[in-house]
């Protein structure tokens, strides 16, 4: 029960949220570094793709399925995209933990406010905005 009790202090919650953010960023950049090194070893000598013309990335880089499939087969670029996913997930996770924290504090008003923010982000993730 001690860790839970400790979490109930307002200040501890803030520090915990800070820790979540730091861990997320470190994890994301480590994955991106790993994928990046692998990418350079495999394709470093090839010439740079033409980034001046926008083509848009395919499903391999833009969908959960594509990214995880690529990671499973050890594809360097998909490992980088996994790092990108972790980076995107970090602030979202932060909101989720804030929601739990406000619930533990029984701060109903802020449970509602946090749920709205989380709802907007989840809407943009799953709301069929993909065009």
């Amino acid at each position: 029960m001690t860790p839970l009790k400790k979490l109930l202090g307002d200040r501890d919650i803030e520090l915990f949220i800070g820790q979540v953010l730091r861990t997320g960023v470190i994890t994301a950049s480590s994955i991106a570094l790993l994928g990046g090194l692998l990418y350079l070893v495999q394709q470093g000598a090839a010439s740079v793709p033409d980034y001046s013309a926008f083509k848009g990335e395919g499903a391999d880089y833009t969908s959960f399925r594509g990214i995880f499939h690529g990671v499973a087969t050890g594809n360097a670029t998909e490992i980088i995209q996994l790092g990108v996913l972790v980076l995107l997930a970090t602030p979202i996770l932060r909101i989720f933990f804030s929601l739990i924290a406000f619930a533990l504090e029984k701060d109903k008003l802020y449970v509602v406010i946090t749920t709205i923010v989380l709802g907007i982000i989840l809407f943009s993730m799953f709301g069929g905005l993909k065009i």
């Binding site: 994301a28 950049s29 991106a32 740079v48 990108v84 907007i120």
Partner: protein
């Protein structure tokens, strides 16, 4: 140029962008987008997707330190994130229908505004009477200063919320953190002490950027070959910047940088008007 050389140069440039972004308080994105488009000739859509990632990395990395100091007003940040995330998703949607040139011109205008904001007078006074909404939403708080803990109260919460909505839209549309607008909303409109508004703004940027970055990722704006040097470079630069910030006086640097950004902005607008994007 091969991929190895491109990645190393981009890594170095992103490092400088992160360093300058954190010292001047403008954030990495403001420097990254002109850098990628004007120097590396990367399409502005890839640049926007990448810059959003840089903003998230920057914000999440720095927030930890500020939270530890107890300056960030987390309740205020959460409340205003309703406005910024809703705006950001809206902005990312509008971006589909906006011509690339218009985005470049708008970005130039916002850059000039951001540069002007860094050299204006800062609000340090802590207000002692708050508006009705500030009590209702439990937004009034206190923060540590060298002279002890200072309590502050908020004015004009509705006005601040509206500016945040605009900040969110611009962030989603242009891929920048809109830090300058966020500070304007908190600092000048809600009358929050400067230190609290900058740290709370920084705290919010990560969530705002994530709301629109999800849309951009799905739309294929984020390329791994550009993303990895930028994420690593900006993060390392921002960490270095936070370290050396305690030893240097950034005022002169801010002015020089503000002028430099203005020139870059004019070039963005010029290129936008001549359809070079």
């Amino acid at each position: 140029m091969n991929i190895l050389i491109f990645s190393v140069i981009l890594l170095g440039s992103a490092y400088m962008a992160g360093l300058l972004g954190s010292i001047t308080g403008l954030g990495g994105g403001v420097i990254l987008i002109p850098l990628l488009t004007l120097i590396f000739h990367v399409d502005i859509r890839y640049a926007i997707g990448t810059a959003l990632l840089a903003s998230i990395a920057n914000s999440s990395g720095a927030a930890t330190a500020y939270i530890k100091e107890g300056i960030t007003n987390i309740r205020l940040g959460m409340f205003l994130e309703i406005a910024t995330t809703a705006g950001a998703v809206g902005g990312a949607l509008i971006a589909i229908f906006m011509p690339v040139n218009a985005i470049a011109i708008l970005l130039g205008v916002v850059l000039i505004f951001s540069a002007a904001m860094t050299i204006r007078k800062k609000h340090v006074h802590a207000e002692q009477t708050g508006s009705k909404l500030s009590y209702l939403l439990k937004l009034n708080s206190s923060y540590p200063t060298p002279n002890g803990v200072v309590a502050y109260k908020l004015k004009n919460v509705g006005g601040g919320f509206s500016i945040m909505l605009l900040a969110g839209i611009l962030s989603g549309l242009l891929g920048i953190g809109s830090g300058a607008l966020k500070v304007l909303a908190m600092d000048s409109t809600m009358r929050i002490p400067f230190k609290v508004s900058t740290t709370t703004s920084n705290f919010m940027i990560g969530v705002t950027a994530a709301a629109s970055a999800v849309v951009y990722l799905q739309r294929g704006y984020i390329d791994p070959g550009i993303a990895f040097p930028v994420i690593l470079g900006v993060l390392a630069g921002a960490f270095t910047g936070a370290r050396i910030l305690t030893y240097i006086n950034p005022t002169t640097l801010r002015i020089i940088f503000g002028i430099a950004i203005t020139f870059v902005a004019i070039e963005m607008i010029y290129n936008g008007l001549h359809h070079q994007f």
